[in-house]
């Protein structure tokens, strides 16, 4: 809007200018992402990996559980086995595709759970404030005294091996971090005048949180959580690598890396393959998270 039109009296005939359609915040974020080559590249790689994992039961060339004692540890590029076979003679390509299902799930679910629970606790603590807030935050400080890998291994080790325990452990590792982000964002918002105004006009706390607080809090929490995806992938597969996660013969990248470890002398390429998939997925998650962060940053 130019200065003249602001000064014009409301009675004056409006100049025949069609206002440009106002763009919402999310449309702007999408516009920025659309022009980010790194976002396209990493998003494409992720989509490919996810598609291969989801469609594995229909498009994988072989049975992920059926082995063959005479075709053990075939090298990459063997006829009929493009990525070789594992220590029990099972097709690597098939198992890597099926393994992605478990690895991706184990990477994404803890972050999703931490996003939900962390936001709930953080917004509650930040909005209520006072002594309750201090109690919650100081209690969570204790979990900050544990290095995250140690905490994950300790919890899933104490609970015993298994996939669900692994998911619980990783969620518990991420919740305090998300709570901290959500709490500090809520604290910033609740001091603002319009929250006070909403309260004075009689809105109940749930309405205020739903309408006025969440919109400001979920952005930073979302950005933070996307950054956790890669950490979660690496940690989840790491737990399986230690034997604390998925149990054999289930295909999972971390576990495959573990069972193929003894093959590094005879067939190093095949043994290193599952780890390469973890690496590519985690780097794609990281790059996409970086793109999302800068696209959602209003200062840029």
């Amino acid at each position: 809007m130019s200065a003249t039109s602001e000064l014009a009296s409301p009675i004056a005939i409006a100049p025949p200018v069609v206002a440009a359609p106002s763009r919402s915040y999310w449309a702007m974020v999408w516009q920025r992402l659309k022009h980010d080559r790194m976002a396209w590249l990493s998003g494409g790689v992720l989509l490919l990996i996810i598609a291969a994992a989801v469609l594995a039961p229909w498009i994988a060339p072989a049975d992920p559980y059926k082995g063959s004692m005479i075709r053990r540890l075939l090298p990459v590029g063997s006829p009929g086995y493009p990525l070789g076979t594992d220590e029990l003679g099972r097709d690597m390509l098939t198992r890597l595709m099926h393994g992605g299902r478990m690895s991706l799930l184990m990477g994404v679910i803890p972050v999703l759970a931490a996003f939900v629970f962390g936001s709930l606790i953080g917004v509650f603590a930040g909005y209520v404030g006072g002594r309750v807030n201090m109690l919650i935050m100081r209690a969570l400080d204790i979990f900050y005294a544990f290095p995250s890998v140690l905490l994950a291994v300790a919890i899933s080790g104490a609970l015993g091996p298994g996939m669900s325990n692994c998911l619980i452990a990783l969620t518990l590792v991420f919740v305090p971090q998300v709570v901290r982000v959500a709490e500090s964002a809520t604290m910033q918002v609740r001091k603002l005048d319009y929250i006070e105004a909403a309260r004075m006009s009689g809105a109940n706390p749930f309405t205020i949180i739903r309408v006025h607080v969440l919109g400001n809090v979920l952005g930073p929490v979302f950005v933070y959580s996307t950054g956790l995806l890669s950490v979660s992938m690496i940690l989840a597969s790491g737990l399986s690598f230690l034997g604390l996660g998925v149990k054999p013969p289930e295909p999972e990248w971390g576990l495959m890396l573990n069972t193929l470890r003894s093959a590094i002398y005879s067939n190093p390429w095949v043994a290193a393959l599952p780890g390469a998939f973890i690496f590519v997925t985690s780097i794609a998650f990281n790059l996409l998270a970086d793109s999302v962060r800068s696209a959602m940053d209003n200062r840029s």
Binding site: A145, F146, P147, V149, L150, I155, A158, L159, G238, L242
Partner: protein, 317 residues
């Protein structure tokens, strides 16, 4: 200044207490009876009861915790169920090895990270910057247990330069600073160094490019200071934060070396934790977690106390 330090030290006490509660409670989260690890399934009732009494498991949980804490403060973490040896001895021996590995890895990571970060910050937006930034993204995204395997394949199998496993020739556990022992440290330390390398590169790059944009740098340039003298000013401005991040990284590596230690059969705390978990050796698990976390808590405290000492601006705040 002194008040700040005192406050910081006092604040550590509830955190440390909380850590003991969590370490103790973790083990009691475990499903099933802790005695299953030692008593055979068909053991008679009297034997199980006697064992329960011997390990103090027949008392209320709070009493168990209080007793455990009382003993822990006096340096007694109980007896390992699997080996029957005192937990403290086992843990301290392992902590020494892990500290060695984590310390050397942090040193490598911090040095390389500082160089890469400074170059990237100085030549912001250039090809060098993109290469350094790229390597830091790789550093934080790579599953280090896999990197360990790849390094083993490259530098131990194809080019037999370094041993793939263990911490010394002939399985000896005594560490010495000679080449025969240090060869064993190379691969695990390099593997572990990648984590702090990526994080330090990011931190230093952001700090250096921020500092270079500040007005005092332009003022120094206007006064005709050589770029070397200006660099010194940049270092002074970035050092406190880098030191804080680096200090915490040592702590993270102490806890994060579990996977790398498993890959290289390094006889540290990770190895111990692994053994404790799979043998369901609860006293050993509790003790190892407690010692590692206390280490981390103290390191956090040291970093917070040292930071205002090197950065006078923080003392005034």
């Amino acid at each position: 200044m002194l008040a700040y330090m005192l406050k910081r030290v006092l604040y550590t006490i509830p955190i440390a207490l909380g850590v003991t509660v969590v370490s103790f409670a973790l083990v009691h989260l475990a499903p099933g009876d802790a005695l299953n690890a030692i008593a055979p399934a068909d053991a008679p009732e009297e034997v199980i009861n006697a064992l329960r009494e011997a390990y103090g498991l027949d008392r209320p949980l709070i009493v168990q915790y209080a007793l455990w804490l009382l003993h822990a403060v006096q340096g007694d973490l109980g007896t390992s169920i699997a080996t029957g040896r005192p937990v403290v001895g086992e843990v301290l021996k392992a902590v020494g090895n892990t500290l060695l590995l984590a310390g050397v890895a942090a040193l490598i990571g911090v040095v390389i990270g500082c160089i890469l970060g400074a170059v990237a910050g100085y030549y912001h937006g250039s090809l060098l910057d993109r290469m350094a930034t790229g390597s830091s993204v790789i550093g934080v995204s790579i599953p280090h247990y896999w990197l360990g395997l790849v390094l083993t394949i490259c530098l131990s199998i194809w080019l037999p330069l370094f041993p793939a496993m263990g911490a010394g020739p002939g399985g000896s556990s005594a560490w010495q600073w000679d080449w025969a022992h240090m060869r064993y440290l190379v691969l695990p330390a390099l593997t572990l160094a990648v984590i702090p390398m990526g994080i330090i590169t990011r931190t230093v790059r952001a700090l250096v490019s921020d500092t270079l944009q500040q007005e005092f740098v332009t003022a120094l340039q206007a006064r005709g200071l050589s770029s070397r003298r200006i660099f010194l000013h940049v270092v002074k401005n970035t050092a406190p934060t880098v030191l804080a991040v680096a200090g915490l990284q040592v702590g993270y590596l102490m806890g994060g070396s579990i996977l790398v230690e498993t890959v290289f059969a390094w006889p540290g705390t990770g190895f111990l934790l692994n053994a404790a978990i799979f043998q369901r050796d609860m006293p050993l698990l509790q003790g190892t977690i407690l010692v590692l976390c206390m280490f981390f808590v103290v390191l956090n405290l040291l970093v917070d106390i040292l930071q205002p000492l090197i950065d006078p601006r923080m003392g005034r705040a």
